[in-house]
């Protein structure tokens, strides 16, 4: 045995071991979700025919996430959707000044398949990720590609976030010979380009703040070929400003208050505000952990410049009676819950969405928009980690 102090030598060597950076998740996980989306019936007193039933969508989602090697993590998702029901075709103001809603008839029965793959590489001071998404239904096909990255600075108290994505969609309306709009849309493309820049700041041990700005440019065929008198511009520039705040709170077994605000503006004249608040409350019950999250969201938007309820607008005039381009406001109330037990997690979520012309905070109009939708969603799911 050597006579010099092993203790000092080993202590010095131990202190020289570098601190490690953020690491890639190490669990492989499988998940399954079933969601049911149900729109409330349209108001019979405003529909042209007695067709009032709207969309019902069943969604099944399978997720698989796994680490690959030391620093890579891949998330993949496969989703099947079955849609059935009717959708609004046109809203117009009749001679009595009342809005009349024409529904498509319960002819829609569609399937959609989505595939998403997102690899992510973890570096000592950040991450770099990619996204490939493919979506296919019988009248629409979409291919999207994205890259994103994060960079930690100031001893990881600040994170810079950036992402960029492009998509290329192709329309192929069913029965293209049925209307001139469908014929015109058949084979047309829709492209998008999006960029987001954000910064996330740790404010103190219990709270973080993220602000971001996003820009999206859409171009190509942006009208809805299934609607009557729907002629929209061939480009749309959208800007989003967002602020998110997260505050941990020492209530019962731990809680977090998430609040966010989003401002949106586009060159179709549409502007919107969204406020989101949710409270995630944790309960420790022996081996179980239960997280209950009540949430509320308020949304208000002004109408697009070319939104109108004119029954027969001039053919060379931009026009749409799509309720999503009208001025309205909406409330969402929801309750998400998660039960964790070792490698398992079970989810039950419910949300109720209600929208009305009169809930608009800005630019409210006296025109009725009977197509404005109310819906509820219910989700049940399970995750398994190994």
């Amino acid at each position: 045995m050597k006579k010099l102090s092993a203790f000092s030598a080993l202590s010095a060597a131990a202190l020289a071991i570098p601190t490690q950076a953020e690491v890639a998740p190490t669990d492989t996980s499988l998940s399954y979700r079933y969601s049911s989306y149900q729109e409330a019936d349209a108001p019979r007193e405003r529909t042209f025919t007695n067709e009032t039933g709207r969309y019902q969508i069943d969604i099944q989602q399978f997720g698989y996430r796994t680490p690959i090697g030391e620093s890579w993590y891949i998330a993949s998702e496969l989703q099947f959707e079955t849609m059935s029901g009717a959708s609004p075709t046109q809203t117009y103001k009749n001679n009595d000044g009342q809005s009349t809603l024409i529904m498509s008839g319960a002819s829609i029965e569609e399937q959609r398949v989505d595939i998403k793959i997102a690899p992510k590489k973890y570096f000592p001071h950040g991450t770099a990720g990619g996204l490939l998404a493919l979506s296919k239904e019988n009248d629409y096909q979409s291919l999207a590609f994205g890259v994103d990255g994060t960079l930690d600075i100031f001893a990881k108290h600040t994170t810079l976030i950036g992402s960029l994505s492009v998509s290329n969609d192709v329309l192929s309306p069913t029965d293209p010979g049925l209307s001139t709009a469908r014929t015109a849309a058949d084979g047309r493309k829709k492209r998008s380009f999006s960029i987001y820049e954000g910064i996330n700041q740790v404010l103190d041990k219990y709270s973080t703040l993220q602000v971001g700005i996003g820009y999206t440019q859409l171009s190509g065929y942006l009208s809805d070929p299934y609607k009557f008198e729907d002629r929209r511009p061939e480009s749309r520039d959208q800007v989003t400003l967002s602020v998110q705040h997260k505050q941990f709170a020492n209530v019962l077994d731990g809680a977090a208050l998430h609040s966010s605000y989003r401002y949106y503006y586009d060159d179709w004249g549409l502007a919107s505000h969204t406020v989101d608040i949710k409270w995630a409350q944790q309960f420790n019950l022996g081996r179980y952990r239960f997280i209950a999250t009540p949430l509320v969201r308020y949304y208000t938007q002004t109408k697009a410049d070319f939104y109108s309820l004119e029954q027969n607008p001039a053919d060379d005039q931009l026009n749409s009676s799509d309720y999503r381009l009208s001025s309205y406001g909406a409330f969402t109330f929801g309750f998400n819950s998660e039960l964790k037990l070792e490698k398992w997690a079970f989810h039950f979520d419910w949300q109720q969405y209600t929208s009305r012309e009169t809930l608009a905070l800005f630019g409210a109009s006296d025109d009725e928009a009977p197509a404005l939708v109310n819906f509820s969603t219910f989700t049940a799911g399970v995750d398994y980690k190994f």
Binding site: S5, F7, L10, A13, Y206, F248, A256
Partner: protein, 294 residues
């Protein structure tokens, strides 16, 4: 004040966090600290094909493996342990498990051990900050001799960096204090009785730092009433048999654990060597006699 306790299993050991503070913070911190321990386990596991350590071993006799700064620093640490123990502590000696099967309750033949000894030679390993190369096929290294203690330190540092001030990390009996109890009365730590490991032979109060124990009771077999434990001398391939257990206090769990193991390896010379280190210790002879400077 109540304790927040978080239990899981990693590195083939029960892991426990005992903490005091605000729940919201503690829960966040527990997940991060657990993830850190699991990261270390996966990176340096001998049992996972995808681990860095397994890659290094698979490349033995073939090519060098690129390593990162953490691995290089741990190799440097292992090198120092090798030098300080004059070759008795050697991270290439794990291969002896091929000859020593503690479940069989039979001794390996001298030939079996002789056949493995040429593969045990840390000094033949070429390594620097960027890569490591094991020169002979079938040679292997592992960090089993200090991985658990290193992970306990790293987990405690995660807690400290997140602002947790009161708590301890217990990784299979190796302890690293995050910070004293809220009331400053210290954490009561039991030291196992080597003859009855489920019972404490002594209690100690720790306010900070770490305590690690190396004992002959962790894995062993008795053959012809002789005790053969898992702590092997790298030069002979045979277990030590002088001390039943050595417990050391040091600021870092990693250092405490290595000093304890090196003392076990030093056998009868170990006590004198340990006294020179001027660290608090409790050492128990196989005959049950104790020495301590607590």
């Amino acid at each position: 004040m109540n304790y927040h306790q978080h239990n899981f299993t990693a590195m083939a050991s029960p892991c426990k966090f005992f903490l005091q503070g605000e729940n919201a913070l503690l829960q966040q911190a527990c997940l991060k600290a657990q993830a850190e321990i699991q990261r270390i386990e996966q990176k340096f596991s001998r049992y996972r094909d995808s681990s860095l350590l397994q890659t290094i071993n698979n490349n033995a006799g073939i090519k060098a493996t690129p390593i990162d700064a953490e691995t290089a620093a741990l190799l440097n640490y292992a090198d120092l342990c090798y030098q300080q123990s004059e070759g008795l502590f050697d991270i290439t000696s794990g291969i002896l498990r091929k000859a020593w099967d503690f479940k069989s309750k039979t001794l390996p033949s001298k030939n079996d051990i002789q056949a493995l000894l040429p593969l045990i030679d840390w000094s033949s390993i070429r390594w620097d900050q960027n890569e490591v190369f094991l020169p002979k096929k079938n040679m292997e290294i592992d960090f089993g001799g200090f991985g658990k203690e290193y992970a306990a330190d790293k987990a405690a540092e995660i807690f400290q960096s997140m602002g947790v001030q009161h708590g301890l990390v217990d990784l299979g009996g190796d302890i690293r204090i995050i910070g004293d109890k809220v009331d400053m009365t210290g954490w009561e730590i039991g030291i196992r009785d080597p003859k009855q490991p489920q019972q404490a032979i002594s209690q100690i109060t720790l306010h900070d730092g770490a305590m690690a124990t190396s004992g002959n009771y962790e894995r062993f077999m008795k053959v012809n009433n002789q005790h053969y434990c898992h702590i092997m001398k790298a030069n002979s391939g045979w277990p030590v048999n002088h001390w039943a257990s050595v417990s050391i206090l040091a600021p870092q769990c990693l250092v405490a654990g290595s000093l304890a193991t090196l003392t076990m390896l030093g056998e009868e010379d170990g006590l004198a060597w340990l006294k020179e280190q001027e660290v608090p210790f409790l050492i128990i002879n196989v005959d049950g006699s104790q020495h301590s400077n607590f």
